[in-house]
Symmetry: C2
Subunit: 146 residues, 2 copies
């Protein structure tokens, strides 16, 4: 079990198979619009660890969620190494010692301040875009009058 499960069944359901769906690498690639190569690369970097049926990889919900989080992290500018670090610590959590856990909390706080700055950057950037757009429209208008 790993890194939260958004669409986990709503609590009361005994030992039902929960979500027995699995995915091939191709399916996963299509649904996230990446190439299989990318997914294999993420595995090689320790971000995924799919089951193997013989030679071929079998992905479960857990893996899909990880991939989703990984890609989200990437869009936010985190390196794969950073993402892996958090994932690893998370997986080691249940039996983690205090030092490791404190370290994890530190990292999280770090990411958090990062997010804050991102938010500020976005606000500022949006203002810039507003400004530029306004000027552009202005010029366009004058241009239309001639």
């Amino acid at each position: 079990m790993s890194i939260s499960e958004p669409e986990a069944t709503t609590a009361v359901n005994g030992s039902l198979p929960r979500q027995r769906r699995t995915y091939s690498i191709g399916e996963l690639a299509r649904m996230f619009e990446v190439t299989p190569r990318t997914i294999r690369f993420y595995e090689q970097e320790g971000l995924l660890a799919p089951e193997r049926r013989g030679q071929t990889r079998i992905y479960h919900e857990k893996d899909r969620v990880r991939l989703k989080l990984t890609l989200r992290g990437k869009r936010l500018g985190f390196s794969l190494a950073e993402i892996r670090e958090v994932i690893e610590m998370y997986d080691a959590m249940p039996d983690g010692n205090a030092r490791q856990l404190k370290r994890l909390l530190e990292i999280l706080a770090d990411k958090r301040t990062n997010m804050e700055r991102q938010l500020e950057d976005i606000r500022l950037m949006q203002r810039e875009l507003d400004d530029v757009e306004l000027r552009a429209r202005d010029v366009l208008e004058r241009l239309d009058q001639a």
Copy 2:
């Protein structure tokens, strides 16, 4: 004059030199915590075009603002090429034809949707962080009791 001036003097001041401050490459590097190499590289990529006094580069407010925007764009995951594209179009605005301006507006809209997704990603990521932190604190607590 380029890409907006945040701290422009507040309107009513005739033909005062406004802001006659200039910067060396080292000063700029220190104030933004990048290396001179980075700044030269940005110039080579068409993001900056400082004045030259003989051999050495002289940066004005205009250049400083550009650098600031460039770095902000980078933090938001834009490539230098993307950033340059916007800057170039902005500079070409006053005498730009309608087609170019419409293109600029398109690009801006594009960036804007990008920002929106970023915001959503940040929201989601913050929830994840909250979740992970909560669990970590939980484990820590149980650990402290033993």
